[in-house]
């Protein structure tokens, strides 16, 4: 069982997600990047589960993460929709009313 490949894939996905979340202007893209990070974590969990000889705890965890991520995307897209409705733009740089 090769654990390293999976962990490298997870790290790659996670770094891609972080990069996307920090650099993308479009808020939908940011949300997608967040999904990438979650997928990276899920990959790691499944890999460790298999590595420990079929310990199902990790896989159950993954199912929960996917469920919660679906809800999070629902809420996130709703927020994006409202931002767009108010600002006529989904660009995150325009959302700076909290600027001190």
């Amino acid at each position: 069982m090769m654990l390293n490949q999976f962990l490298l894939l997870g790290a790659f996905l996670f770094c891609t997600g972080v990069y996307g979340a920090l650099t993308r202007r479009n808020s939908v893209m940011v949300l997608m990047s967040v999904e990438l990070m979650l997928a990276a974590v899920n990959t790691n969990l499944v890999a460790f589960s298999a590595y420990r000889g079929g310990d199902v705890a990790g896989q159950v965890f993954v199912l929960f993460v996917i469920t919660i991520a679906a809800a999070e995307v629902g809420v996130g897209l709703a927020i994006v929709l409202l931002i767009y409705r108010n600002l006529r733009s989904s660009d995150l740089d325009d959302v700076d009313v909290l600027k001190g």
Partner: protein
């Protein structure tokens, strides 16, 4: 025992009515006044209930000990002079009903509010509520269309409430509270028509005079506290405790005497005794129903009530036992004569009645002073009815007969035909007052005189008899001037001889009988004037008043209750008839020399002396008040300006300097510096940190990831 235990409701109901009338009376004056009538009516029902239950309580105690009582009666009859403990065997002890709660505690002294319901309280409750109820009804007609109708009824309610509070009081402090509030109501009601200067002056005079004597009450109340402390070790204001202490024999005579004299001063002011009686005639400036209620039947007898309530103090303090002369009897006796003498020279019918009241109050105080407790309170009881009757009668005359004037010589005369009901009730009241046989005053007044005679107060018996002659004479004069002769109150007030004919052209102004709201109370009071005396008529072997209302515990045991003697009664009746005869001879038969005061220098001097009311008013306003206003006031002014103002100004300057220092140094530099510094620091910190708040989401996310990364590196290296 519902009515006895809940007697606190009796003062409470008029108090509620007072507040109700004040709040809602302006919008609906007539319903408000009927609300007041209803409230006092409810109080009246409760008082009658209490009276009945008290009599039952007495009878229950008496029935159980009937045999002992029959035995004791004979003991009293045989051993009246011996005194001793005959009384206790005679009548079984019936303790008053006491309920109270602590109002507040101060320095170990417990000030309580409560009720002490015994015969005296029950009797007074009945008198006050009865007269008050009748006066309320009378006022709805008499005061109709008055400009302050609502305030008038509010004051009446407050008065009834506070008078009843005074009556049911179980401690002297509560009694004093009631005492002061009735004084306030008296002030308010005398000055009811304050737009006219004499009325407001009369109100002030009444208030200040009674306030002067109230100093005596305050001293007396405080002294009573220490009387109890001397006897039992702990001070108390409770009336029962005070009386018990006075009778215990453990208190020095001097202390008791000073207490008694201080309280006597209170009685002198409140009950119009010589020499502080001068406010009472002036108080007639108030509306007539007020005079009947406050200045004849109830408030002025508050002093007598105080004397009866704390009787042991007076009995021991003034050494009433054993005859001779004491301050209380002297004050009363003097008042009997000087009051009666002044009544002769008054032209104002209400002032005649006012001086008559003073004289009769003198009888009561004298009665207390000679040990005739039962007789004095009995006279209080009967006097309330017939004097209220007379006052309301005079009000009826003014209301419907003499165009609201009270001047007998100018506005009245010959009214008996036009106002037959008022006339007959007035005659009944007069007969009762003068002591005509078998009417109320006969029994009560003669009992005072008989007691005075039997207990070696001969002097006061004679004074009382002289007073009786004078009373009979001046009251007949009053009736003659008001109801006989020719009508002198022409519609225009012209003193012409033709004014006697009741011209047809003045029908709407001519005298007529008063409406029923006025005559009905007169008839009720007349009935009381006739029959009230039979409560205690020793001539017929009835001594119910004594049996029901005289205290049997904590009470001097050596009081004398005279047997009925035909000789005394005969003397009294003769004396009254002499009085009638003199007045009749002077006014009707005209056999006595007329206008004697104009022809004889001595008589003229005497009359001038009386018309000027013994110059007492001159003494008070000219010398006492003037003396205070003059040099003493100037001296006080100088002292005020130089000494007190100096001290005050000095204190002011010092305070300013301290304040300036505080402002400049402590406040501006110290406190403000600290506060401002804190604010500036916070502001700068905020300015520095606000740059972090870019409002850019991804910058925040970057910081978060950087922080997590840094934390991860830290963990990595630290392991």
């Amino acid at each position: 025992m519902f009515f006895l235990d809940n007697a606190w409701l009796v003062p409470l109901i008029p108090a509620i009515s007072f507040i109700g009338i004040l709040l809602f009376g302006k919008r609906a004056p007539r319903p408000a006044s009927w609300f007041g009538v209803g409230a006092i009516g409810a109080s009246w029902v409760l008082s009658v209930g209490a009276l009945v239950q008290w009599i039952e309580r007495i009878d229950d105690a008496g029935g159980a000990a009937g045999a002992i009582r029959a035995f004791g009666r004979s003991m009293v009859g045989a051993g009246a002079a011996g005194g001793g403990h005959g009384r206790e065997e005679a009548l079984p002890a019936v303790r008053p009903i006491l309920h109270s709660f602590t109002w507040w505690t101060n320095g170990g002294a417990d000030l309580r509010v409560g009720i002490q319901i015994d015969g005296l309280a029950v009797m007074m409750m009945f008198v006050v509520t009865t007269i008050s109820l009748l006066v309320h009804i009378y006022s709805t007609e008499y005061m109709r269309d008055d400009r302050r109708y609502t305030h008038y009824f509010a004051s009446l309610s407050l008065f009834s409430s506070s008078m009843l509070l005074l009556v049911v009081a179980d401690n002297v402090v509560q009694l004093m509270v009631g005492w002061e509030i009735v004084g306030l109501c008296s002030f308010l009601l005398i000055g009811h028509w304050w737009e006219e200067k004499p009325n407001s002056n009369a109100a002030l005079k009444a208030f200040f005079t009674t306030r002067t004597s109230d100093i005596g009450l305050m001293i007396g109340v405080v002294m009573a506290f220490f009387v109890v402390e001397r006897a039992t070790g702990t001070g108390s204001f409770d009336i029962m405790a005070v009386n018990e202490a006075a009778l215990s024999g453990k208190v020095g005579h001097t202390l008791l005497m000073i207490t008694a004299l201080a309280l006597l001063l209170a009685i002198i002011g409140k009950s119009g005794q010589f020499p502080l009686h001068t406010w009472l005639p002036d108080a007639m400036a108030g509306p007539t129903p007020v005079s009947a209620l406050i200045h004849a039947a109830t408030m002025v007898v508050a002093g007598v009530y105080l004397g009866a309530r704390l009787y042991p103090i007076f009995y021991e303090g003034l050494s009433i036992r054993g005859g001779g002369v004491n301050a209380m009897a002297m004050v009363g006796g003097t008042t009997v004569i000087i009051g009666a003498a002044l009544a002769f020279v008054q032209d104002d019918i209400k002032k005649v009645l006012a001086y008559s009241t003073i004289s009769q109050l003198g009888y009561m105080v004298m009665g207390l002073g000679v040990g005739a407790w039962t007789a004095a309170t009995f006279h209080l009881f009967t006097h309330a009815f017939f004097k209220a009757n007379l006052f309301l009668g005079s009000g009826s005359v003014a209301h419907s007969g003499s165009h609201h004037s009270f001047d007998m010589k100018k506005s009245m005369g010959g009214l008996r035909k036009q106002m037959p009901q008022t006339f007959w009730t007035f005659v009944i009241g007069t007969l009762a007052l003068t002591g005509f046989p078998l009417l109320a005053g006969f029994f009560s007044k003669d009992e005072i005189l008989a007691t005075a005679g039997e207990s070696d107060f001969r002097l006061f018996e004679y004074i009382g008899l002289i007073g009786a002659v004078m009373t009979a004479a001046y009251m007949v004069r009053c009736i003659y001037l008001t109801f006989f002769g020719e009508y002198r109150g022409g519609a225009e007030g012209a003193p012409s001889s033709s004014a006697g004919t009741h011209g047809e052209s003045h029908t709407h102004l001519s005298p007529h009988e008063s409406p029923r709201a006025i005559t009905a109370p007169l008839w009720v009071l007349s009935a009381f004037s006739i029959f009230a005396g039979y409560l205690n008529a020793p001539a017929f072997g009835i001594e119910k008043f004594q049996e029901w209302f005289e205290p049997r515990v904590v009470f001097p045991e050596t009081l004398i209750h005279p047997e009925f003697k035909m000789v005394d009664a005969a003397i009294a009746v003769t004396v009254v008839l002499i009085g009638y005869g003199i007045a009749y001879a002077y006014y009707w038969a005209r056999v006595l020399p007329q206008n004697v005061t104009e022809r004889n220098a001595a008589a003229r001097a005497g009359k001038t002396f009386l018309v000027n009311k013994y110059y007492l008013d001159h003494l008070y306003t000219g010398i006492v008040v003037g003396g205070i206003k003059g040099p003493i006031a100037r001296a006080s002014y100088w002292f005020d300006q130089r000494v007190i103002d100096g001290v005050v100004n000095g204190a002011g300057s010092a305070a300013r300097m301290v304040a300036r220092f505080t402002y400049d140094v402590i406040d501006q530099k110290g406190v403000d510096g600290a506060v401002n510094g804190l604010a500036v620091g916070t502001g700068e910190l905020g300015g520095a940190t606000r740059r972090l708040q870019t409002g850019r989401l991804q910058f925040y996310a970057l910081v978060m990831f950087a922080a997590v990364g840094a934390l991860g590196l830290l963990l990595w290296f630290s392991n």
